[in-house]
Symmetry: C2
Subunit: 167 residues, 2 copies
């Protein structure tokens, strides 16, 4: 496989990955392609100009997306002495980050289901003489126990990873 073929494949992968990330992380097309590019660029980071020319986007677009991606913790940059450029990279520990996102998401899910259970319990109380207006609670209760279990498992997987990293 030649270097040109690799370049071709990289371009194709940036497109495919870009589409996926766009949907998955709800990012603007260019923002998603920046992420895809950083995932596929192994070396010491990608510069602003590199992104502008690779993605054929304007400087302003790349600038704003780089800033929002940086401030939400998705990417980071390194600098080199005697070099004014920034070299953008993905934030390290993306796997841990992924797990953490799931964990916090599930925490808010728990809060929501609890609130729904409260509401429906009130409904059942107020309408207790009208069987046709009674609410089912088991779905939310099952979801809650499911979330508890899923959370526990993911927390454990995260711990395993942390131990592996600290060795």
């Amino acid at each position: 496989m030649t270097r040109e073929e690799l370049e071709e494949e990289k371009k194709a992968l940036v497109e495919q990955l870009g589409v996926y990330i766009e949907k998955e992380d709800q990012l603007a097309p260019v923002a998603a392609r920046i992420m895809a590019t950083l995932i596929l660029t192994c070396k010491q980071g990608t510069t602003f100009d590199q992104l502008v020319s690779d993605l054929e986007a304007s400087k302003s677009t790349v600038s704003t997306h780089l800033n929002t991606l940086t401030s939400n913790g998705s990417i980071d940059y390194i600098t080199r002495p005697g070099d004014r450029k920034r070299y953008f990279i993905l934030t390290p520990n993306r796997l841990i980050q992924f797990i953490d996102e799931k964990l916090t998401k599930w925490e808010t899910d728990k809060v929501i289901h609890k609130r729904l259970i409260d509401y429906k319990t009130n409904v059942n109380e107020v309408y207790k003489e009208e069987p046709e207006n009674q609410c089912e609670l088991t779905f939310h209760q099952n979801f809650l126990t499911f979330l508890e279990e899923a959370t526990a498992v993911f927390a454990k997987l995260k711990n395993n990873l942390n131990e592996k990293n600290n060795q």
Copy 2:
């Protein structure tokens, strides 16, 4: 707690839940509020007109959203003899559905990471004389094993649920 207070609380909850569902499931505002309404309506389903008046949306908007939500399997409807109206409800087994979505999502994640490993292995082969261009593979490998484990656990949780349901 009076019935009016419950109605007030329901409206507030539809709004809150609606915002959450809108972001989470990438739905249009009215589509998300339809879902929220169906989640909060315990009785025998909600009619088209009920949704039009509750959500203060046009018939056409409600109609198109109901159709897309039905065809993607999020909602369903029941009918009653001698009653031309449709009574919309959430599809049963939403928890199983939730798990299934995670499982298929993780399957495509696996495919993607494998493809990235292939690409980066090729890079390392072609650039093997240039250490500064070597790609890291451990991140993708860790992610893959993580996905395997997560998939296994969720499959098991799903089985438990199915057994409980079939009892």
